[in-house]
C-alpha cells in the first residue's frame, strides 16, 4: 500500500520523500477547493516533486458552473500538464474535458461523493477506460463493502485509494457564507477579504452537541468540516489485507508534516500500540467514521408513521369524518363501487384493525344509496375507534 499526500510549502517535500511517499498532490488556488499554490508556481513545484523521485499529481477538484469552468480552463493553459503524472478530477465536466482535450493524460477519479454502489464505480471505470489511473472511494463505505469492491476492482486492474487521515468534508457551497458573518458588511473589511486567500472560524450548531465545526472560506466557496478528523491508522492491517493501493494522508490545515514519518513507519511495520499512540497524540480528535458500519438508513422507518402507509391490496379509501354514534364518511378511491352488505376492514392510525359490515349506505346528501362510485363519499354506520385518515379495505 503506497502513500499519497499533500504539501503546502516546498521544504516539506524532503520529509515526504524521506517517508517513502509515492505521490504528492499539488493543490493550486485556481483548481483546488482549498488550494494555496499559485497557478504560476505549479509547474515549478511539479518539477521539484519529480526531482525527488515522487510523482506530482495535479488536483482539480472544484465544482464549476459554466462561467467558472470557462475561466478555469483559461488558467489551466498556464499549467504544463506533461509535468504531472496524473490529473485528479471530481466535476464530471473536468473529467470530460481532460479526456477529450488531453486524451493522453491519466485520470484519478474522485468518487467520494455518492458512488455507494459497485455498479456505479465500475461504470465510471469503464467510461474512463484506457485513461484511468485509479478511483478514489468514499469514506462512507464500510469495511465489509470495501473488501468486496476492492476485490472486484482489482480483477479489472483498477487501482483504488482511500482517505487514511484528514479532515472530513461535511458541506460544500460556492457561496460566500463566512465572510458576511466575520466582516459584518463593513466595506473596509470587505476589501480586505479580497486579499485574503482563505478565512477560517469555528462554528457550533444548536442542533448538534458537537462544538467547533471548522468553517473555511476560499475563493471557491465555503466548506464545513467535522470537528474530528478521519483516521484509519489503527485499521491499517485491514487496509493492507484488502489490498488497498493508495492511502491518502492529508496533513494540511496546520498539522505538522513530520507526522507523515510516523504514518509511514506504522504502514511499513504495523504495531497496534504505535498506531494507538499516534491516534491518541494526534493534534485533533479522530474517528473511523463509517469504516466499521454504515447504518445511516436505519432511522428512515421512524420518519413517518408506518401504520399510515397504505397497502394496495383491497384498498377502498380513507376516512374523512367520524361522527360518534352516527356515521363514518370515507372517500371511495377504488374503481369498485361501495355497496350495502360489503364487509370492510378499517385500519386506524394506531394500526388497530376494525371489522364491520355495511348495514346502511348513504351518499353525501345522506340519501340511502345502493352504490357509491369512485371519487364519491360513502357514509356508513359509526364504528368505534376509527379516526380520521383511517384506511378502509375490503375484508
Amino acid at each position: 500500500m503506497k502513500l499519497v499526500s499533500f504539501i503546502e510549502q516546498l521544504p516539506d517535500l524532503a520529509t515526504l520523500q524521506k517517508s517513502g511517499v509515492e505521490e504528492v498532490i499539488l493543490s493550486g488556488q485556481d483548481f483546488s477547493r482549498y488550494g494555496k499554490i499559485k497557478t504560476e508556481d505549479l509547474n515549478n513545484w511539479a518539477n521539484e516533486v519529480s526531482k525527488l523521485g515522487m510523482k506530482p499529481i495535479l488536483e482539480w477538484d472544484i465544482l464549476m458552473t459554466e462561467n467558472v469552468f470557462a475561466q478555469t480552463v483559461q488558467e489551466l493553459k498556464k499549467v504544463d500538464l506533461d509535468l504531472f503524472s496524473s490529473i485528479r478530477v471530481q466535476d464530471p465536466g473536468a473529467i470530460h474535458y481532460v479526456m477529450t482535450q488531453f486524451p493522453q493524460k491519466k485520470l484519478q477519479l474522485v468518487l467520494e461523493t455518492g458512488n455507494h454502489n459497485l455498479q456505479g464505480i465500475l461504470d465510471w471505470a469503464t467510461y474512463a477506460a484506457g485513461k484511468l489511473d485509479r478511483v478514489i472511494l468514499s469514506i462512507e463505505l464500510p469495511y465489509e463493502t470495501l473488501k468486496i469492491y476492492l476485490a472486484a476492482l482489482r480483477e479489472k486492474n483498477i487501482k483504488t485509494e482511500l482517505l487514511g487521515l484528514g479532515r472530513i468534508l461535511l458541506f460544500y457551497t460556492p457561496r460566500s457564507l463566512l465572510a458576511p458573518v466575520v466582516f459584518d458588511h463593513d466595506d473596509d473589511k470587505k476589501k480586505t477579504m479580497i486579499e485574503i486567500e482563505s478565512l477560517e472560524r469555528l462554528a457550533s450548531s444548536e442542533e448538534s452537541p458537537h462544538k467547533g465545526f471548522p468553517i473555511l472560506e476560499t475563493k471557491h466557496g465555503t466548506f464545513m468540516f467535522h470537528i474530528k478528523e478521519h483516521c484509519l491508522i489503527t485499521q491499517i492491517p485491514k487496509l493492507i489485507e484488502m489490498q488497498l493501493d493508495y492511502l491518502r494522508i492529508d496533513l494540511r490545515f496546520g498539522k505538522p508534516i513530520i507526522l507523515i514519518e510516523n504514518v509511514a513507519n506504522i504502514v511499513s511495520n504495523y504495531h497496534e500500540e504505535a498506531a494507538l499512540t499516534f491516534k491518541n497524540n494526534y493534534p485533533t480528535d479522530t474517528l473511523v467514521g463509517f469504516f466499521n458500519i454504515n447504518k445511516t438508513d436505519t432511522l428512515f422507518t421512524k420518519l413517518k408513521n408506518q401504520k399510515l402507509q397504505r397497502q394496495d391490496q383491497n384498498y377502498l379509501g380513507d376516512v374523512y369524518e367520524i361522527s360518534k354514534d352516527k356515521h363514518i364518511a370515507f372517500m371511495n378511491r377504488s374503481n369498485q363501487p361501495i355497496t350495502p352488505e360489503m364487509k370492510l376492514k378499517i385500519i386506524n392510525p394506531e394500526g388497530k384493525e376494525l371489522l364491520t359490515t355495511i348495514s346502511w349506505l348513504k351518499n353525501s346528501k345522506l340519501e340511502l344509496s345502493k352504490s357509491i362510485p369512485q371519487n364519491e363519499l360513502a357514509v356508513i354506520s359509526y364504528v368505534g375507534k376509527v379516526a380520521a385518515r383511517s384506511q378502509v379495505y375490503l375484508a
Binding site: H96, G114, H185, T296
Partner: protein, 403 residues
C-alpha cells in the same frame, strides 16, 4: 392567436402524494415528479404505492400531463438490487421518465428499460462539459444545479442538444446538491438517501476572535431564502429552457396548487401573447406570497447568489398571510360543496376558493352544515362540512382564508 403560438417551458410540479398530484395537475402543471416507496430523496414524504402510481399516471395522462419518477437517491448495493423490478413496473404503467443521480442507477435503468433518463440536480451538473458527459452516458435531460444561471442553462442546451430543466421556485440547499453529509454524521441519517435533517436551518454560534473566545456571533449562515422566479420567466423562455421545476414534494396541497397555478397562468399568458406585459404579473407575485415561505430570492438565476440570498433568521409561520381551510372533495353543482376541513374557520369568515383557472373567488362562509345537516358556527379540522355551491367549484379546489 391559438394557445400554442409561443413556445413555453413545461411547468413541473412536485407531487408528494396522489392527492397532491391531482391538485398540481388540475391547477395547471404540465408534468409532476413523484417518488415510490423507495429510491427517492424524501423518506418522510407519503410517496406512492404501486396502485397509487397507476392511478396517478392514468390521472395525469387524462389531463395531458406527464409523470416522472424519482430514483435520485445515492443508492447502496442492496437498494440497487431491488431496483429492476420497480423500473419494469413503472415503465409498464406508462411513466414518462425517471430522475436519477447515480451512475449505477442510470446504467441499470438503461440496461433494462427504454425509459427516458433525466439527470437529477443531485448529480450537480453545472457546465457544458458535464452535460456532454451525461449525454454520452444516456441522459436525455439534465436538471441543472441551482448554482447555474438561466443564461448558462441556455448555453448548455445549445451546445449539447439536451433538454434542460431548471428550478424556478421553492426551498433551496446552500450546498451543491449531493455535497452535504452533515446529518449523516450529526444525526446518523443519510442526507443523500432521503434522511436530510435540515441541519443548514439551525442557528450557529461562531468564535470570531482567536484570543477572545467569549466573542461569539450567532447566525443562520447556512440557511437559504426560497427561490422565486416569476420575473425571470422571460429569460427561461428566451434561453429555450425546456422545463421549470417547482421544489416541494413535502409541502402542502395549498403550496402545490398555488405555485403550479401561478407559473401555469403566467406561461399560458405568454403562450397566447408572446410577452408578459400584463398587470397580472403583480397578481401572480401576490399569489406566490400567499403561501408559507421564507423570504424570496432569485438566487443564481441571473447572477451568482450573494449575501442577500441568506435567510438569517429562525423559521416561523408568523408571517403566513393565508392558510388553507380545506379542499373541496365533492361537488353538487347548484347545491353544495363538501369540504374536508383542514383548519378551523367560523361562520361569517371571508374565504377564497381558488379555481383551477382564473382569479380566486372571495365568498363569505354563510351557512355551514355538517354532513348530518347540523348547522355549525365553527368548523373542526378533520371533519366534512357543506358550503353553498360556488359557481365553477370543482373537486380538489383549495379553499383558503386570509389570516
Amino acid at each position: 392567436m391559438n394557445e400554442n403560438s409561443h413556445r413555453v417551458p413545461e411547468v413541473l410540479a412536485p407531487a408528494g402524494s396522489l392527492e397532491k398530484l391531482k391538485v398540481a395537475v388540475l391547477y395547471g402543471a404540465n408534468a409532476v415528479y413523484v417518488g415510490g416507496q423507495k429510491f427517492g430523496l424524501r423518506q418522510a414524504s407519503d410517496n406512492f404505492t404501486y396502485d397509487e402510481l397507476i392511478e396517478g399516471v392514468n390521472f395525469a395522462k387524462k389531463h395531458q400531463a406527464k409523470v416522472y419518477v424519482v430514483l435520485n437517491s445515492f443508492l447502496h448495493d442492496k437498494d440497487l438490487n431491488e431496483l429492476p423490478e420497480f423500473v419494469k413496473f413503472i415503465e409498464a404503467i406508462g411513466v414518462h421518465a425517471v430522475i436519477v443521480s447515480d451512475l449505477g442507477v442510470l446504467s441499470t435503468v438503461k440496461k433494462i428499460s427504454n425509459l427516458d433518463i433525466h439527470l437529477s440536480t443531485q448529480a450537480s451538473c453545472l457546465n457544458v462539459e458535464a452535460a456532454k458527459l451525461w449525454k454520452e452516458l444516456g441522459a436525455k435531460r439534465v436538471i441543472l444545479g441551482r448554482e447555474v444561471s438561466v443564461k448558462e442553462g441556455g448555453k448548455i442546451k445549445k451546445e449539447t442538444g439536451l433538454e434542460v430543466e431548471m428550478f424556478i421556485h421553492g426551498s433551496m440547499c446552500m450546498a451543491y446538491s449531493g455535497n452535504c453529509v452533515i446529518s449523516n454524521y450529526t444525526q446518523g441519517r443519510d442526507s443523500n438517501r432521503g434522511g436530510c435533517a435540515h441541519s443548514c436551518r439551525f442557528e450557529y454560534s461562531f468564535d470570531l476572535n482567536d484570543t477572545n473566545k467569549e466573542e461569539k456571533k450567532l447566525a443562520y449562515f447556512m440557511s437559504s431564502k426560497d427561490l422565486e422566479g416569476v420575473r425571470v420567466l422571460p429569460e427561461f423562455i428566451n434561453e429555450g429552457i425546456d422545463s421549470v421545476k417547482i421544489e416541494g414534494r413535502m409541502k402542502s396541497n395549498l403550496y402545490a396548487g398555488t405555485v403550479s397555478k401561478v407559473y401555469a397562468d403566467a406561461l399560458r399568458y405568454y403562450s397566447q401573447h408572446g410577452n408578459f406585459l400584463s398587470d397580472d404579473i403583480l397578481e401572480w407575485e401576490k399569489e406566490i406570497r400567499k403561501i408559507s415561505h421564507r423570504d424570496y430570492t432569485d438566487a443564481s438565476l441571473i447572477n451568482p447568489a450573494g449575501v442577500d440570498s441568506i435567510f438569517n433568521e429562525r423559521e416561523s409561520s408568523k408571517d403566513n398571510e393565508f392558510t388553507i381551510v380545506g379542499n373541496v372533495i365533492e361537488v353538487c353543482p347548484g347545491e353544495f360543496m363538501v369540504v374536508e376541513v383542514k383548519n378551523a374557520f367560523n361562520q361569517g369568515d371571508t374565504l377564497e376558493l381558488l379555481p383551477f383557472r382564473g382569479y380566486a373567488k372571495k365568498f363569505m362562509a354563510g351557512e355551514i352544515m355538517g354532513l348530518n345537516r347540523e348547522a355549525q358556527v365553527r368548523t373542526k379540522p378533520s371533519t366534512l362540512i357543506k358550503l353553498p355551491y360556488i359557481e365553477g367549484a370543482d373537486q380538489w379546489n383549495i379553499i383558503r382564508k386570509q389570516l
